[in-house]
Amino acid sequence: MTMSASAYPSAWRPPTIFGSPGRRFAFWALFAAYLVWSLSTLNVDTARIMAGLPRAWNILVRMMPPDFGRWQLLLTGMVESVQIAIAATIVGAALSIPLGIAAAANLSPRPVYFAARGFIVVGRTFHEVIIAIFFVKLFGFGPVAGLLTLAFSSAIFLGKMLAEDIENMKPGPVEAIRATGASFGQTFVYAVVPQVLVKTLGVLIYRLDSNLRHSTVIGIVGAGGIGQTLSASFSRYDFDFASAILLTIAAMVALGEWFSDWARRRLR
């Protein structure tokens, strides 16, 4: 199997992730074209941005050092956000049970299943802030709107998870418990609950952490919590207070995530 040295090719191109050089060229060409198109049609007034840069620097400087002087206001806002998050998770969990059961293909009748699934799809699409605006419009400013917003979105999320868990349930253990002559309630407790409990608890903790993050944002449209404090401080040009709030939010969210990871690991 020997060839003379000159018989070996001296050029070789590596295979690309696109499958062929033609496709790779097409991709980058499209990419470049998109950049050109988007940057030109975007209302970017570069002159104004350039002029605004020194102002930007000025603002950044005014954000330092963060001003924790009004910490009571900060604390009130944060506590409200935490309360909204906790209450919303609980209410959302309660609402998610009927929704999840309705959206489980192996439990609910066809039309109910489709309606529930459709409701979940639509509900998931909209950002919490959009939902918050609606609730603020309906129930006025304040944490009630925030609670309802997050409860609604939590119910959708948790309902979807529950539906999937129910659909993925192993029929074996349920059958086995039924075969011993247990009642429906007993079957539920001994066969269904253990299968979904740990995962559901994990999902609940995850959602609590999510709600904590979102509760900081919905205040911007008036749904209570620290978001409102933050929005107010920006509009009053209180930049050093704003940076204090931002740091607090970052710390709280990081703490919440750490707690969530720890708790879910402990559950295993």
Binding site: M1, M3, A5, Y8, S10, W12, R13, P14
Partner: protein, 283 residues
């Protein structure tokens, strides 16, 4: 069969000279307690010994994948231990290494893996785009042909069998046009027949390219059959260093400890699983 290091009267600097190599790990374990080895001609040197005897540490100290605690390692007269990062990279270019787990970049093609042997010789940007000089590409094709993988250049590495992957590893090491080959248990993950094929290939390449190779191996039968010279390590010290045919039962006892060495080893071409593992006491 090449003679061992005794009576080496060469005037030129030896290809590899290891002097007083000591390695103590942070845990306090003394893996090597002062090893001296001289390789002055192209030969296939097998390093044998029980687990924990220091074979792997010895091999990996030579290209400083493991940092020696003290001692000198002279490759063509230059002390590798004393080199800085840049010098070490230059030295590593001249040492080709072949691994037990093949260590190919799985998602890349065979050709890309082989060419990565020349990374040290090509600029950063060119290497990332795999623009290697034409001589390198030709050499890569020639090497793939030599190791029996003609036509495989565009296959993804993870689509190959174990033996095939090891051949790619060998081709990659040879692409460096190294002065020395290091092989760390290259056949431990391969079946007996493939192991012999690989060992045969390595021996042929050592002769063809006149490049010395140090191979860390636990299969004594393979070592005896294919190596020119055998080095035995026990508890981090060199206890045997002679031509392969001088490996007696008494020597094996010195290296591994008391055992009935008369149990036959599978040296035939059939699939009999190597009994080399059986006589070795656990370390």
């Amino acid at each position: 069969m090449m003679p061992g290091s005794e009576g080496a009267a060469q005037a030129a600097a030896p290809l590899l000279a290891v002097e007083g190599l000591v390695k103590t790990y942070a845990t306090g374990k003394k893996a090597l307690g002062g090893v001296d080895v001289i390789i002055d001609r192209p030969q296939l040197v097998a390093v044998i010994g029980s687990s924990g005897a220091g074979k792997s540490t010895f091999i990996r100290c030579i290209n400083r994948l493991v940092e020696p605690t003290s001692g000198r390692i002279l490759l063509n007269g230059e002390d590798i231990v004393a080199l800085d990062r840049k010098g070490l990279r230059a030295a590593r270019r001249r040492i080709g290494m072949i691994f037990q787990e093949y260590n190919l970049v799985e998602r890349l093609s065979v050709m890309q893996n082989v060419l990565s042997g020349r990374l040290g010789y090509v600029g950063l940007l060119a290497s990332l785009r795999y623009r290697f000089p034409p001589e390198d590409i030709q050499a890569a094709f020639a090497l793939l042909d030599r190791v029996g993988l003609d036509g495989y250049h565009n296959q993804r590495a993870d689509a190959l069998s174990g033996g095939q992957r090891q051949r790619v590893g060998i081709a990659r090491a040879l692409m460096q046009r190294p002065d020395l080959l290091l092989l760390d248990e290259p056949t431990a993950s391969l079946d007996p027949k493939t192991s012999r094929q690989i060992m045969r290939l390595v021996r042929e390449l050592v002769a063809e390219r006149q490049t010395p190779a140090i191979i860390n191996i636990h299969d004594v039968a393979l070592a005896r059959a294919y190596a020119d010279r055998i080095i035995g390590l026990k508890d981090g010290l060199l206890v045997f260093d002679s031509p392969a045919d001088a490996l007696t039962d008494e020597a094996l006892t010195r290296i591994y400890g008391e055992e009935d060495w008369s149990t036959p080893q599978g040296e035939e071409e059939d699939e009999q699983p190597s009994r080399a593992a059986a006589p070795m006491p656990s370390a």
